[in-house]
């Protein structure tokens, strides 16, 4: 029972992630896949995402240092990044990726760089929030790791 306040806290954390636009419905889809066999599924996917996307971010950083900018390459990298971000429901990150790609298409170097910085910020913020969230969830118990939307 002492978990109740924690559960409440977890629930409110989750709600705010959605309300503030960090996550979208896709995250809920992930939560739906939680079950006894995969109690930590959401966390697993998110962890995998952060691990894999770190590589993409690095590649993007490098590509952005070259001159002149290779927009099509940047676009390609960002496309991949966008794909995985959307798979976990990272809403803001995804929005920044879309914007980045628009800039790539129009060849706007400055726009690209600016957007990328913003994207990295959102990416880092989301990561922190999710880490906190999962940590709390783990404390509560395996089955409750993410409040499954009913």
């Amino acid at each position: 029972m002492e978990r109740n306040p924690m559960r409440r806290q977890l629930a409110s954390m989750r709600k705010s992630l959605f309300d503030q636009g960090y996550l979208d419905e896709q995250f809920m889809e992930l939560e739906q896949l939680l079950d006894d066999a995969n109690p930590n599924f959401v966390e697993e996917v998110v962890t995998l995402y952060y691990r894999d996307s770190a590589r993409l971010i690095l590649n993007l950083d490098r590509a952005l240092e070259r001159r002149p900018l290779d927009f099509s390459k940047l676009d390609g990298l960002m496309h991949q990044f966008k794909g995985s971000s959307s798979s976990i429901g990272a809403k803001k990150v995804k929005a920044e990726s879309t914007l980045f790609r628009e800039y790539c298409k129009s060849g706007n170097a400055e726009g690209c760089m600016r957007t990328f910085q913003q994207l990295k910020k959102e990416y880092a913020t989301l990561r922190k929030k999710l880490e906190t969230y999962f940590q709390l969830a783990r404390q509560i118990g395996p089955m409750e790791s993410a409040n499954r939307p009913k």
């Binding site: 889809e29 996917v45 995998l48 894999d52 496309h79 966008k82």
Partner: protein, 607 residues
């Protein structure tokens, strides 16, 4: 195929236990996809490498029921994989991508995907994918069953052929490829006629196709109308509608070939064999996948449209299609450069490199493109000729999705690409991306087919550059181009199934194409290069090669202009079933066409 094999529990409980192969280089997405699929109670195998996936599929064709693949993958383009699977295994393939651009979707369709899902994919969407497996099986069954009645003319319309009907001649029928002429009837697309599935299918055997191509050549691509062709062929129980639809496909094929020629050239050599199955491919005889092309009217237009200015008719898949496509107005086919008038370019460029086998082919490619260029341009997506599956050669079109690219690339993979090593030509195009026209290069070169293609692309300047490089390659297209046509039969079928050919569109162009085709045929078929269409080749592009084809020879050697279309085989069918040597020798006719076209064309195909 697989449903029955699912073992005891499979059949009854289908779709439970359906065996799915999921391919995606992104681990996050792959994990998610795998989990979702398991949640649907499918039996899932995942891999992040397209090559591994192909290997698994090749090891045992009956191991899987369905393949889901991402579009953007580092080791192999998703569309290429799609073509391969279509050609070799004839399994339903669903494409997956975060990018939902119409062009890309079109490309997927032309390459034969039975569905295109957007990421992030939801479980509801996956719960229904089993329908594709069932549908395909059903189609096979239908096809094999109805051969006896002459089809009531499902299409009668358009004279030129109800494209839709033939589409079905699908490759699935390979087993039926008997070559009996009489009673062959083409199956209409299911979407066409409600009774289409029941109509007896005409099996376009090698001999039949040869006759067809000979007739077309004799008449001249301009004048090759179904009625006359029918008369010349003098085959019992063959209806005008059968011929019309076959002609349509053939035109597409030619178009496609031109793109693919480059790649296919190599393949053509390999393919040489005219396997009936190949013919089956769909009666495409070169018409390429009409189906793929059109899928639906829109497709058709789209196809053409998508053919990125490069004219790459979307999927070059059907060699015929390629060839034909390339043959835009008969005279114009200048394999030289397919000028992409429009935008799309990328693809065209691809096409350029394509230069399927014969120089001619290039032209063809350009041709369709030119015709549709305007249309294509819009769509761009369709043409990815570049995509020709040729694995190595396809590089030509690497492409960006442009229609042209895709197509051509498709080609490359396929054995068709055998079309003389040149198939790589398409690569050139990839660079171009915009210059769809490059495809024009597709001209099927007679021997080096591809090399010419490279030159083809002039349309897009870019292409040219790239092409230059690839051109060298393209040339290789040797008439093996026939091979190009081999493109995955699957592709052929697949597209057919779903997309009623928009053959109408094709039909329009058919006239002009005739000449082109002929040339193409000539070019293409040099070596028997059956243009195996690499499934992608669907030159879906609008066959309307007609006019715009002014293929400019850009720089390159475009010798393409001479449609050395894969001669041998005449059968441009790209869809050869991957039986290995798909390339039916039927290309002979194609070559003629191609060459004929080429001669006429000498104009630059303007894509």
């Amino acid at each position: 195929m697989t449903v029955e094999q699912i073992g005891s529990e499979g059949k009854d409980q289908f779709p439970i236990g359906m065996r799915v192969l999921a391919v995606d280089d992104d681990p996050t997405c792959l994990l998610l996809l795998g989990t979702l699929l398991r949640r649907c109670q499918y039996h899932v195998t995942t891999t992040s490498q397209a090559k591994t996936a192909l290997k698994m599929l090749r090891e045992n064709k009956n191991k899987f029921d369905l393949v889901i693949s991402d579009v953007h993958m580092p080791d192999m383009d998703g569309f290429k994989l799609l073509e391969h699977v279509g050609l070799e295994m004839d399994l339903p393939v669903i494409m997956l991508s975060a990018n939902g651009d119409t062009k890309l979707v079109m490309k997927g369709i032309t390459h034969g995907a039975c569905d295109y899902l957007l990421k992030p994919v939801r479980i509801e969407e996956l719960q229904n994918i089993w329908q594709h497996v069932v549908r395909r099986k059903k189609k096979d069954r239908c096809n094999s069953g109805s051969k006896d009645k002459p089809h009531p003319d499902s299409g009668e319309a358009v004279g030129i052929g109800n494209v839709d009907n033939n589409g079905k001649l699908n490759k699935k029928r390979k087993d039926q490829n008997e070559d009996e002429d009489d009673e062959r009837d083409e199956n209409g697309h299911d979407n066409e006629d409600p009774s289409a599935q029941k109509k007896p299918r005409v099996v376009w055997s090698v001999e039949l196709h040869r006759k067809f191509v000979a007739a077309v050549n004799q008449l001249g691509i301009d004048k090759a109308v179904p009625k006359k062709i029918l008369e010349l062929m003098n085959v019992e129980k063959l209806t005008r509608e059968n011929v019309a639809s076959h002609l349509q496909k053939f035109r597409l094929y030619l178009k496609r070939i031109s793109c693919v020629a480059n790649q296919q050239a190599n393949m053509a050599a390999a393919l040489g064999t005219a396997d009936s199955a190949y013919l089956r491919m769909g009666s495409l005889n070169g018409l390429g996948n009409f189906h793929t092309l059109a899928g639906s009217d829109q497709l058709h237009n789209a196809a053409f449209r998508s053919f990125p200015p490069s004219g790459v008719l979307g999927r070059l898949n059907t060699p015929a299609g390629l060839g034909i496509r390339g043959l835009p107005s008969p005279g114009t086919i200048q394999l030289g450069h397919v000028q992409n008038s429009g935008n799309p370019t990328n693809d065209l460029s691809k096409l350029q490199s394509f230069v399927p086998g014969n120089h001619n082919t290039n032209i063809l490619q350009g041709m369709p493109m030119s015709l549709e260029l305007d249309r294509l341009q819009h769509n761009k997506s369709v043409g990815h000729i570049g995509e020709l599956p040729t694995t190595d050669s396809t590089t030509v079109f690497p492409g960006s999705g442009n229609l042209v690219d895709a197509r051509i690339t498709g080609f490359s993979n396929n054995p068709l690409l055998g079309v003389t090593s040149n198939s790589l030509m398409l690569e050139g195009s990839s660079q171009q991306a915009t210059s769809h026209t490059s495809v024009s290069a597709i001209g099927f070169q007679n021997g080096n087919a591809l090399s010419d293609f490279t030159s083809i692309a002039p349309a897009s300047n870019q292409l040219q550059d790239s092409k230059a490089g690839s051109q060298g390659q393209a040339s290789p297209i040797n008439c093996n181009a026939g091979q190009i046509i081999r493109s995955a039969p699957q592709e052929w079928n697949a597209p057919r199934k779903d997309a009623p050919y928009q053959s109408h569109a094709l039909i329009n162009s058919s006239i002009p194409i005739n000449s082109a085709m002929i040339q193409l045929g000539q070019c293409l078929d040099r070596n028997n290069s059956i243009f195996h269409r690499t499934t992608d080749l669907d030159l879906v592009g609008p066959l309307n090669f007609v006019d715009p084809l002014s293929i400019k020879h850009g720089e390159g050697d475009n010798s393409i202009m001479e449609p050395s279309v894969i001669e041998k085989e005449g059968y441009l069918m790209f869809q050869p079933r991957p039986h290995g040597s798909h390339v039916p020798d039927n290309i002979g006719s194609l070559e003629d066409l191609a060459s004929a076209m080429m001669k006429q064309a000498d104009a630059t195909v303007i894509l």
